[in-house]
């Protein structure tokens, strides 16, 4: 049985062994052979030691998610062998250091093919350093599967260019020797093969980077942050691109500072954001209300990880949904967008800033560790620059302010709740904003019934107005179904693939998937629920928060939920297992 271009690798070792960086290089090389790739890093919260792995799925067809069965493990240490033998399919292969205590017979007993190789010797002799066992192991894997060596060599050349010709040459020699050894010794007995295909160039990029790219192109000029996994790479990305693209970053003293600094920048008219995770978002909550009452645009990027408190710093969660919708005291309009694919995450990057300026309020972009760190092949043509618009809403430019015929009222009462906005600097629009309740001109009135009643209602009218920009949940699968899976955000790929597989097995399942969550699109959701089958939410949290939200906003009680809170993003297998339990 020979299976071509449809398999999963697992590349594992200790922290510090270059699992993620070399794994990402391998993903890039696979993409250059014309295949679709999804790679999910799984790493521990430590700098050295422990156990990290990088799981890469390869397919000829577009894929949006990783999946569970693994066909080949590249083990840089014995712990990887111990932990991941059970993940391998029957006949799958285990590449490991031949000069180690790994028991080949035990592997065979579990129907795993042992592929011992002299990784250390190759690294030392061909590369001059044992560090390069990572490259040796990847070379062996490429050789066994028949992957085009040139694709790998190209990535090695590009990746190590900065470190000099000698480093490039050493890594090429190590990978080449690994490749030849794998091909000669083990290729014949391994069923899963890789062959190059003609395909347009595809990017391999993670969720954080593609969000940052969208934000930059959407005019984000300032990023204020305190490092916190899994959002830190957004700050790093801007640090690396700022000088060239006219953006500044500030690594500040804490997340309270980050969000307040971003509010200060937005107040004077610069698109600024604060990326963080749940702990940082908790610190930001008071300031969110300042953006709300002063009607200052603000984008907060929140990549969720499990809590409470520190929880699992390097793992994933969807536990912050309800918190995000209501964080900070009292009521004010906000928008919450939870992109579901890399392409949509790019779009969200620029769209969030337009929404923030249009509605002059907070926009939270809700990702999770899973999507933040997931590397996927993306077709550049699917990122549409012609759709990247800059919409500043009711922004008064210099000419408009020059011609202002009456005194400027920053918080002028309007039917849609949005007041024309001037930023400080023009003599015709001098005003003072405040966190207190206030009059139309911005002056404090924290006592009067009339002002409070009118001004609070004006702000909340923006909620209603913003519904015009809120898309109903996306649908997928047959129009009529027995079961309708309801998800939101990053779990889209896994749920969608589960829907396909279930339907291929004779079930009738479809899905609703929320990306624009808040303000909640009550009417279209009700219409969709009326047509839905038995409803099950699929969520990475234990309380079924989307189910609670549906009940609160529409009165609909879901029939059940498929919930995991183990810190791992969904696989299609997780969803299918839950589906089986729920529809027994």
């Amino acid at each position: 049985m020979r299976i071509t271009n449809n398999m999963t690798f697992l590349f594992g070792g200790a922290a510090g062994q270059g699992i993620e960086s070399n794994g990402a290089g391998f993903a890039k090389a696979l993409a250059r052979t014309g295949l679709h790739v999804v790679a999910v890093p799984d790493y521990m919260s430590r700098i050295r030691g422990g156990h990290n792995f990088y799981q890469l799925r390869v397919s000829e067809q577009p894929i949006l998610t990783h999946e569970e069965p693994v066909h080949m493990v590249m083990a840089l240490d014995e712990r990887t062998v111990e932990e991941h033998t059970r993940d391998l399919v029957p006949g799958g292969g285990m590449i490991y250091e031949q000069d180690s205590k790994v028991d080949a017979a035990a592997l065979e007993a579990q129907d795993v093919q042992p592929f011992p190789a002299p990784l250390k010797r190759i690294a030392n002799e061909a590369g001059g350093s044992e560090v390069m066992i990572n490259m040796a192991a990847l070379g062996v894997a490429a050789g066994i599967t028949g992957m085009d060596y040139e694709a790998m060599a190209g990535v090695v050349r590009q990746g190590f260019l900065k470190k000099g010709e000698d480093v490039v040459r050493a890594n090429l020699e190590v990978s080449r020797q690994g490749y030849d050894l794998g091909q000669e010794r083990y290729a014949a007995g391994f069923d899963w093969k890789l062959g190059s295909r003609e395909a347009p160039q595809r990017m391999t990029i993670d969720g954080n980077a593609i969000f940052a790219m969208g934000a930059l192109l959407g005019g984000c000029k300032m990023v204020c942050a305190y490092p916190m996994t899994p959002a830190t790479p957004v700050l790093h990305w801007f640090a690396g691109h700022g000088d060239r693209y006219g953006a500044i970053i500030k690594h500040v003293e804490d997340e309270i500072a980050a969000v307040n600094m971003a509010i200060g920048a937005n107040f004077v008219g610069v698109r600024a954001m604060a990326p963080t995770s749940g702990g940082g978002f908790s610190l930001m909550t008071e300031a969110l209300g300042l953006a709300g009452i002063s009607e200052t645009p603000l984008v907060v990027f929140l990549s969720q990880r499990p809590g409470p408190s520190t929880g699992m710093p390097t793992r994933s969660s969807q536990g912050d949904l309800l918190f995000t919708l209501f964080a900070s005291q009292d009521e004010f309009p906000r928008l919450v967008i939870a992109p579901h694919t890399h392409e949509e995450t790019f779009t969200t990057g620029w769209r969030a800033f337009n929404l923030a300026e249009k509605y002059q309020t907070l926009v939270v972009v809700l990702l999770d560790h899973h999507l933040s760190s997931m590397v996927r092949t993306v077709l550049p043509a699917d990122l549409h620059m012609d759709q990247v618009t800059i919409d500043r809403g009711k922004w008064l430019d210099r000419a408009a302010l020059d011609n202002l015929s009456e005194p400027y009222l920053r918080y002028k009462m309007t039917d849609d709740g949005i007041s024309p906005r001037a930023v400080p600097g023009h003599p015709n629009a001098v005003y003072s904003a405040t966190s207190d309740e206030h009059h139309e001109d911005g002056h404090i009135d924290s006592e009067s019934v009339a002002t409070r009643t009118a001004m609070h209602a004006k702000r909340l009218r923006k909620f209603q107005t913003a519904l015009a920009d809120i898309r109903p949940p996306f649908t997928y699968g047959p129009d009529e179904a027995e079961v309708t899976l309801i998800g939101w955000g990053a779990s889209y790929g896994a749920i969608r693939e589960a829907v396909d597989r279930a339907n291929a097995d004779g079930a009738r399942v479809n899905m609703l998937h929320f990306v624009d969550i808040w303000p909640f699109p009550v009417e279209p959701v009700q219409a969709l629920l009326n047509k839905a089958g038995r409803t099950l939410t699929v969520e990475n949290n234990a309380m079924g928060q989307m189910g609670m939200l549906l009940r609160m906003m529409t009165g609909h009680q879901v029939a059940g939920s498929i919930l995991t809170w183990d810190g791992r993003g969904f696989t299609p297998e997780d969803v299918l297992a839950g589906l089986q339990k729920e529809v027994r």
Partner: protein
Amino acid sequence: MVTRQDYASPVRPTWCPGCGNFGTWNSLKKALVKVGLEPHEILIVSGIGCGSKLPDYTHANGLNTIHGRPVIIASGAQLANHRLKIITTHGDGDSFGLGLSHFINAARRNIDLVDIIQDNQIYGLTKGQYSPTSDPGFVTVTSPHGAIENRINPVLLALSVGATFVARGFARDVEHLSWLIAEALQHRGYALVDVMQPCVTFNRQNTYDWYGERAYKLQESDHDTGDLQAALQKAQEWGERIPMGIFYQREDQPAYHEYLNVLQAAPLVDQPLGQWTEEHLQDLVEEYV
């Protein structure tokens, strides 16, 4: 030419008669007129407290924020538009309670702003609790047996983190305080103006007379404002005699925004928006193929 009338707001202060805030407020307006800054050229950022209502009483760009955060909000505004002259006005509770780390960080970053602390050594708006600058032993509702903590010394603290302009004024001496603020407005980088300003309602200890009897002017002595050691010495003087004036000043250190490459061309707010094209996207894509 700008006059004090240009800064007149229709809103009258709610401060108690005789409140120290009046002196600080008048000094600020006087200084703004002196250096020729117009209401649209400045942004006054405040926090929460009696003194933080100052922007509401002043016709100028203002942002009355949340407790403890004005300095970091002002820092964001400053980096986003360094053509605006940024002034923060807030009390000792706001600055040295919640806001302590922002104070230290703005000073060590040398953010170009004038940080005016309306320092009455007590919480007024919340009705008379002791503050981070209250003297040890100070009895209030929340320190019934007298404050046990050491007091924050704003001048010493600012000097210790590399502040480039450090001054103390007295709300009753408007002539002197307005001079200090004018100097601060013309300073390159972070400028602290810690103002001794009595709370006539809740602080019966640190009164106009109490400050008046102790305050003396550094600039009437041979104090060298370029000498950090001398400044550190003077900063520790607090008790029978309290120095006021400019403790320390250096103009040779660039402000934070001057170091940022992107800001060399123009203030961030004036830089183009929406200038990116398909080519720029392709350049970024290139990094990932």
